[in-house]
């Protein structure tokens, strides 16, 4: 996996939005081959969405052939409630870009048959060809979407009871009253996220540091469900310095050095968006690259 470390949440949001924009543009989505995007809610995504809206308004990206799937939704909260995830996504993203309403998929927390609704959602994901890029964050308890500690690492979209810590964390959106926070939610499963072709996690803040450390330095574990990214062939985490506070210095240095090596030895122009390397850079045009001799350090350039 790639760990991209930036100074602060602003830089993280900018990097992420820029990446999403480039991915969509490189993919060149069409009606027959749309770009399927999984989207989270939360305070860091808000800034990512702000940038995406800005790119759209400047004509640098189009969402015409983008299909979106949201990760989760509260059960029993009316869609018109300002804290429903539908309202959140509409307010921060959907109302500002040219995403077509019929291409937007949200879980319906007010469906009569919640299990059937979850199945419908999974079926829809398959129908559109699977998710190309799933954006997400993590909770302080290392959960992805509402896959609370103890969720099966192969789980599918289903109803979940929210952990106490999550309810507390969300109370700030309900006037500080924990009793007003919904206790049930529909969520994509850990398995659903794993099935995406690429996963990009946005992790900022010191309060996420323990979770980040558990998820990338320790084993794959259902108590820290985000740890499944270790098994994903195409995973990226974009985080700020504060989120690295519990990582070993060695880990942080390693991931930072990867970016430096890429700049110096390979050159940005030779690195594909998802990290593939087409060839190595050479500062001296008369260098021995053509002879097939590589500098020793460049041999470990691949990091997937």
């Amino acid at each position: 996996m790639r760990l991209i470390i930036r100074d602060d949440p602003k830089a993280v949001a900018y990097y992420t939005a820029n990446y999403v924009r480039q991915r969509i543009n490189e993919f060149k989505p069409t009606r027959k081959r749309p770009f399927v995007l999984g989207l989270p809610t939360g305070s860091t995504p808000v800034e990512v969405y702000w940038h995406l809206v800005d790119y759209y308004k400047r004509g640098e990206v189009s969402f015409r052939h983008v299909i979106t799937f949201s990760m989760d939704e509260y059960v029993g909260l009316p869609r018109s409630h300002p804290e429903s995830y539908c309202a959140f996504m509409h307010r921060h993203l959907y109302d500002h870009i040219n995403l077509r309403p019929e291409n937007v998929h949200m879980l319906d927390g007010n469906a009569d048959d919640l299990a059937a609704e979850c199945q419908r959602y999974e079926d829809k994901i398959k129908e559109v060809g699977g998710i190309e890029l799933f954006l997400g964050g993590i909770g302080p308890d290392g959960h992805i979407a509402f896959n609370e500690p103890g969720s099966s690492l192969e789980s599918v979209t289903r109803v979940k009871t929210l952990a106490y810590e999550t309810v507390l964390a969300n109370a700030r959106f309900f006037g500080g009253d924990v009793n007003k926070v919904p206790k049930l939610a529909l969520t994509v499963g850990v398995g659903t996220v794993r099935a995406a072709r690429e996963v990009l996690l946005i992790i900022t803040g010191a309060h996420k540091a323990v979770a980040l450390a558990k998820c990338i330095e320790e084993g794959v574990n259902h108590m820290w469900t985000v740890s499944v990214v270790q098994l994903h062939p195409s995973a990226m985490i974009v985080c700020d310095e504060d989120a690295t506070l519990e990582l070993h210095v060695k880990t942080v240095r390693y991931f930072k050095s990867i970016e430096q090596v890429q700049e110096q030895l390979i050159g940005r122009q030779h690195i594909g968006l998802k990290g593939s390397i087409s060839k190595l850079a050479s500062s001296d045009p008369a260098d021995s690259f053509g002879s097939g001799v590589l500098p020793p350090a460049a041999a470990t350039a691949s990091k997937d």
């Binding site: 869609r79 018109s80 539908c86 309202a87 509409h90 959907y94 109302d95 040219n98 077509r100 309403p101 019929e102 937007v104 949200m106």
Partner: protein
């Protein structure tokens, strides 16, 4: 573009919107003449905007509402009894182009025959590009007013309410009031009036305003208690403010619920300092009105107001041969700009004084004077100097090309 989920959806973008007493970066969506909830549009109807209107960074506000206007473009609602439909028609359209999307055609004190001829033609009528601004019902000013404070009204038409409800019936016809009137202006101290006010409200459902009155504060307070909820052109045609008996004006300092007050901000009817004082005393009650008369938008000259002759001269209107102000020739858009300047009120407060407050006074603030979901799509786009740039009524744009009206003269 119309479908099972309704007609064309129009989106106003690149604007600041007057919403929840603030100017916010937002969009306004309109469908089938109403303002709609974009989240419902997106998630339930699965629709996106069909037409997009670039407001060029301007302000999107509800259309202006004028609850006191006697005429304009040469027409007069009390005098043009034979061509009253033509008068309403042309004034409605002319006002619409000025950014006033709803109004109360006002009659001055008249004889019963006049009310019998015109009131049925001044009743509520929806606004549209074809017909002009919405008519909210008549504002019937007089003849139950004080002879000492008649202003430009004709003395011979004035009467008392000594006969109670019967007096109103005899003058206007209670049914006619019920069907066509938005509110009536009376002087509380006129004989029988204090008893009659609550009975009139109960019998007809219309609102009552105090005006053209010499009432003491005690009398005015009793009128308020009896259900009066508005003061007609504050300061004008009423007992001046006196520190021990502030009269009708004193209601701005009353305990409990205070009335709305119409106020003419042409800088002539009321000194700018007086406007500021009233605003500071009771900012939520300010209702900007034009009290415009037939000469509004007409060049200098002599015209008829009610049954009197008046002289229009460079923005001022006097009863011919006197110094008594006969009426105004200002537009509501100018009133809003002046009000902001006179009082230091914020843009939001200035706009609300010509939209939300008049709508609240008339009890129609769920559908007029606001940009709430479900409200009528009467919308104006202004620049940041509060000049009206574009006007929309019932969701359609009113322009000089599609709203054709004429001056009477």
């Amino acid at each position: 573009m119309a479908s099972a989920t309704g007609g064309v959806i129009t989106q106003f973008y690149n604007c600041v919107v007057l919403k929840n007493h603030k100017l916010v970066d937002d969009y306004v969506y309109v469908q089938d003449g109403k303002i709609i909830d974009p989240a419902k549009m997106f998630f339930d109807s699965r629709r996106a905007a069909d037409v997009r209107i670039d407001c060029q960074g301007g302000i999107v506000a509800p259309g202006y509402i004028d609850v006191q206007i006697n005429g304009a473009f040469g027409y007069d609602f009390s005098n043009d009894t034979d061509i009253i439909d033509e008068a309403v028609d042309n004034v409605s359209k002319g006002l619409l182009l000025q950014g006033c999307t709803a109004f109360c055609p006002t009659t001055v004190s008249s004889r019963p025959e006049v009310y019998a001829r015109v009131l049925d033609h001044l009743g509520p009528r929806a606004g549209s590009v074809e017909r002009g601004a919405e008519v909210l019902g008549a504002h019937i000013e007089g003849p139950f007013i004080s002879p000492q404070k008649k202003g430009a009204h004709e003395l011979a038409t004035l009467r008392t309410a000594a006969g109670g409800l019967a007096a109103f019936d005899e003058c206007y016809g209670l049914d006619r009031l019920r069907q066509n009137a938005a509110y009536v202006t009376v002087a509380p101290e006129v004989a029988g009036m204090l008893d009659a006010i609550p009975r009139l409200i109960e019998a007809t459902g219309i609102r009552v305003a105090a005006g053209h009155s010499n009432a003491t504060t005690a009398e005015a307070t009793q009128a308020l208690a009896g259900g009066a909820s508005m003061i007609t052109h504050l300061f004008n045609a009423m007992h001046p403010f006196h520190q021990r008996d502030p009269g009708v004006i004193g209601l701005l300092g009353a305990e409990g619920v205070r009335p709305f007050y119409g106020i003419i901000c042409d800088g002539v009817h009321v000194h700018p300092h007086s406007v500021m004082i009233a605003y500071r005393a009771h900012p939520d009650g300010a209702c900007l009105v034009t009290d415009a008369m037939a000469a509004q938008s007409l060049p200098n000259g002599v015209y008829k107001l009610g049954e009197m002759d008046v002289d229009v001269h460079d923005g001022n209107v006097y009863i011919q041969g006197t110094n008594t102000i006969a009426g105004a020739v200002i537009t509501l858009a100018e009133c809003v700009r002046n009000f902001a300047r006179f009082t230091g009120a914020s843009t939001v407060e200035a706009l609300e004084s010509a939209t939300l407050h008049p709508a609240q006074m008339l009890g129609i603030a769920s559908r007029k004077g606001v940009l709430s979901y479900g409200a009528d799509a009467d919308i104006i786009v202004l620049d940041h100097d509060l000049n009206v740039q574009r006007v929309f009524v019932a969701g359609k744009e009113a322009t000089r090309e599609n709203v054709i009206y004429k001056n009477k003269v």
